[in-house]
């Protein structure tokens, strides 16, 4: 097509990006008028190349980002579900590493998955693992720094946790399901799990938390002092096991600083 042939006829149809986008995300939509084949005729299959590229790349990002869900639902089902998801929730950011953040809620209402009540918690865990993978780097403290603090100093101190650290209070055994599918863990048993997500070196890891620890660690993450966090945890969980909780935090290399003001 040359510039001459293009300028012969005035008033060519213009295609806005809103129109283009709408037609990309809706497989049933007509191809916008003004997108043409080399002979100047309305494009059809050529437009589908863009449609397919978008659907394929977003589906692949979902597949890569949710390996356990893909395993649980099967590759084919997951791909079909991803096609529905991506049309409702196209990426809001260029960072595909975090794409799929709305999947837990989606799974709760998607007809094909709403009866599988444990899936949203598995999705939450997979999202947290991805965030941990890309989180900022921080070296853990020497645990001796913690044990050497006197009782008073410890209660006043604020612990800094690694940027990779998150707590997930799952109603379902999300960590056991993950371990069973990805790490040859034992068959999951029923019941919720409180999970700490952290990173050992560059590897995201999950740790089961004792009762009350989720609240304790969440308080630390909010910047509350050790004493305040402990008070809140023990008031809601009278037999809160601080030693067991600290053992997990140390094993998870979660504590990266002690701020004594």
């Amino acid at each position: 097509m040359t510039q001459d042939t293009l300028t012969q006829t005035p008033a060519r149809a213009t295609v806005s990006q809103a129109e283009f986008r709408a037609a990309i995300l809706n497989a049933q939509a007509d191809v916008p008028e003004g997108l043409v084949n080399p002979d100047g005729q309305q494009a059809s299959k050529r437009f589908s190349v863009y449609r397919n590229n978008v659907v394929h790349s977003l589906s692949e990002a979902m597949l890569t980002g949710f390996p356990v869900l893909t395993k649980l639902l099967g590759d084919e089902f997951f791909r079909e579900m991803a096609k529905v998801y991506l049309r409702i929730h196209p990426p809001a950011s260029q960072l595909m590493m975090h794409y799929g953040a709305a999947l837990p809620g989606f799974l709760e209402s998607f007809p094909g998955t709403l009866h599988l009540k444990y899936l949203p918690d598995v999705a939450r865990l997979e999202l947290a693992l991805r965030r941990a993978y890309h989180a900022g780097d921080a070296d853990p403290i020497d645990p001796a720094e913690l044990t050497s603090l006197g009782q008073h100093d410890l209660m006043e101190a604020r612990l800094t946790l690694a940027p990779a650290c998150e707590v997930l209070q799952a109603k379902w055994p999300a960590k056991s399901i993950w371990d069973f599918n990805m790490a040859d863990g034992p068959q999951p048993s029923a019941g919720g799990e409180d999970i700490l997500i952290s990173r050992i070196g560059f590897e995201p890891k999950t740790f089961l938390l004792p009762e009350g620890a989720a609240e304790f660690i969440s308080s630390l993450l909010k910047g509350r002092s050790f004493g305040t966090a402990l008070g809140l945890a023990t008031s809601n969980t009278p037999d809160f096991d601080l030693t067991a909780t600290l053992t997990v935090l140390i094993a998870a290399q979660a504590i990266t600083g002690i701020d004594r003001d």
């Binding site: 990006q17 809001a92 890309h134």
Partner: protein
């Protein structure tokens, strides 16, 4: 020999698109590979293994940062959050080159993760020019602009693509990244002569070349439709066009892009070696 390069310090040799599975191979046996290109968006996390690997690689290779998410051709304003992330990456990495696409990918805050086409009109020219100026000003560096692969045309276009790109470069001072595979794909799909395109294209502004493989399909009338898949070796006609270009420009930083069905290192390195050999042969024919 044409040389007006000011925007990149990449070496005039072969590079590859970096894939994490090649990390050790690159350090142990880089072979013909003298520089690396990364996709900016994959390195916008706060930390972790990918950033650490990139930091290590950057001590051993010149790095080209190739953006796929700025949506230079977008009708919406450029995303300030994304530009800030881009600036942060470029500021710590200080790469040898930064490039982006003549395309759009975001509209109305939905990012479609694909390089979507633009009509070549006065409005698009104004918008693309303003966006490139904005990017260059914010980043404090010149960028290279890459030509797209096209599957269809816009009836409303009033410029040819080479003329459009030449005018954008003139107005913004940006350098050019010539994707030879994209030229071949667009020429096949839109039924023009690739050599005519290259004759009209401002080769003097080329600071980097891309080479990649494509897939072949057909449209509803059975006409050949090439797909820019980056999942195969570079096709012979693309190597021939590469020769045509470097005969005119001399050796340039030339990248093998292989993003899908990524092969073993020796296969990728072999493609880089071929690019190197072709540039050496052309340089001997046409002394600088």
């Amino acid at each position: 020999m044409l040389d007006q390069r000011t925007n990149t310090t990449l070496p005039d040799g072969a590079g590859v698109g970096y894939k994490p599975q090649h990390f050790q191979d690159l350090l142990n046996a880089p072979g013909a590979v003298t520089w690396l290109e990364i996709h900016a968006e994959n390195y916008m996390g706060d930390g972790g293994r990918q950033i650490a690997q990139l930091r290590h690689l950057a001590e051993n290779f010149p790095i080209s940062v190739h953006g796929v998410g700025a949506s230079i051709g977008g009708e919406s304003r450029l995303d300030p959050e994304h530009l800030a992330r881009l600036k942060k990456l470029l500021d710590w990495l200080n790469p040898a080159s930064f490039s982006e696409h003549l395309a759009w990918s975001t509209h109305d805050s939905a990012f479609l993760n694909d390089l979507l086409p633009l009509p070549y009109t006065k409005d698009t020219l104004t918008r693309v020019t303003a966006h490139i100026n904005e990017v260059q000003e914010l980043l404090g560096r010149k960028m290279l602009l890459e030509n797209p692969s096209s599957y269809l045309a816009f009836a409303e276009s009033t410029w040819s693509e080479p003329d459009f790109i030449r005018e954008v470069a003139r107005r913004t001072g940006c350098g050019l990244l010539l994707d030879v595979n994209n030229v071949f794909i667009s020429a096949t799909n839109l039924e023009f002569e690739a050599l005519d395109y290259l004759d009209a294209y401002p080769l003097d502004l080329v600071e980097e070349i891309h080479l990649a493989g494509h897939d072949e399909d057909a449209d509803e009338l059975g006409r050949k439709l090439l797909i820019d898949s980056h999942g195969k070796p570079v096709d012979e006609p693309v190597w021939a066009l590469f020769d045509h270009v470097i005969a005119r420009t001399g050796a340039r930083p030339a990248l093998i892009e292989w993003d899908n069905d990524v092969p073993n290192w020796d296969v990728l390195e072999n493609e880089a070696a071929r690019a190197t050999a072709q540039m050496a042969a052309q340089t001997q024919k046409v002394p600088a």
